[in-house]
């Protein structure tokens, strides 16, 4: 019998010798911890909408059906939570923010992301563009579960995962930076895991 049979068939991790390293202070997890600052909103897709509003007061709206009709992408990305767990190779499906922003007329430099349930998070607008961010509605081949932010969440994996707002309902484009939920309570305004920007002053 061939020895290859002992290779773990379900193992999808990267080889430890050649894969990307963890950001400083992080540990690797294989499961997908659920973090939440409040009750899980149950948002029906027939009532769901996504709104981008500009500094001039213009609004761009998508219903669920309109979002589904847009071209989607299937990014596989590493994610890093500020509570120190990281997960490699998470597979998503969603619409790129480049697609959603393509017709939006704005001079804004900042974005404040709003969620169903009241959560907010802020980031520079440029971090949402150029293939860096998606409105994700499927994870690991299935519809995104409510505890992971379904029906749709922001996915912006190059920043700590608190920036990837669950239950996303809109993005407010702003000329001036405005801190979100955790950013106004001690967490770093930008949150780059590779520079370990966890708290204000890091």
């Amino acid at each position: 019998m061939a020895v290859v049979g002992i290779v773990t068939p379900g193992f999808r991790g990267r080889p430890r010798s050649s894969g990307p390293e963890l950001p400083p202070g992080q540990y690797l997890t294989e499961d997908f911890p659920v973090l939440s600052a409040g009750p899980t909103p149950r948002v029906l897709t027939d009532r769901w909408e996504f709104v981008i509003s500009t500094e001039a007061g213009q609004e761009y709206r998508w219903s669920w059906a309109e979002l589904m009709a847009l071209p989607s992408e299937t990014p596989t990305v590493d994610i890093h939570c500020v509570t120190k767990w990281s997960k490699f190779g998470t597979a998503w499906q969603g619409v790129s923010l480049d697609t959603l922003m393509s017709d939006v007329d704005t001079a804004a430099d900042f974005a404040l992301v709003h969620s169903y349930g009241g959560y907010t998070t802020n980031l520079p607008l440029e971090d949402l563009l150029n293939g860096q961010a998606w409105i994700a509605y499927r994870y690991d081949g299935a519809d995104l579960a409510p505890e992971h932010g379904g029906p749709a969440r922001l996915l912006v994996p190059h920043l700590y995962f608190w920036k990837s707002a669950k239950w996303v309902r809109g993005i407010q484009l702003l000329l001036d930076d405005e801190p979100g939920f955790w950013e106004s309570a001690g967490y770093h305004d930008y949150g780059d895991p590779w520079r370990e920007q966890r708290y204000q002053g890091d």
């Binding site: 973090l35 939440s36 409510p146 708290y199």
Partner: protein, 86 residues
Amino acid sequence: MTDLYTDGNALAGPLREIFAVDVTAATSQCASCGQAGPVATLRVYDHAPGLVARCPGCEEVVLRLVRGPSAAWLDMRGAVFLRVPL
């Protein structure tokens, strides 16, 4: 799945570090709906980057506590007052 919160007694240790008294015995009033009650009856979401204590009446945030390695941030904008028995 059930929501991941516990009761306000989870604030006892983290707040004792900041206050000399056990704040969970104090009364807080929610700035959103006006409901008042012991801090120990708040709903504390602790599977999060900080402790988020919500009003049992309206689920709005009453208190947030973030503990970094060298400082703590306490945000009480969701509370009208804290009445501490002395």
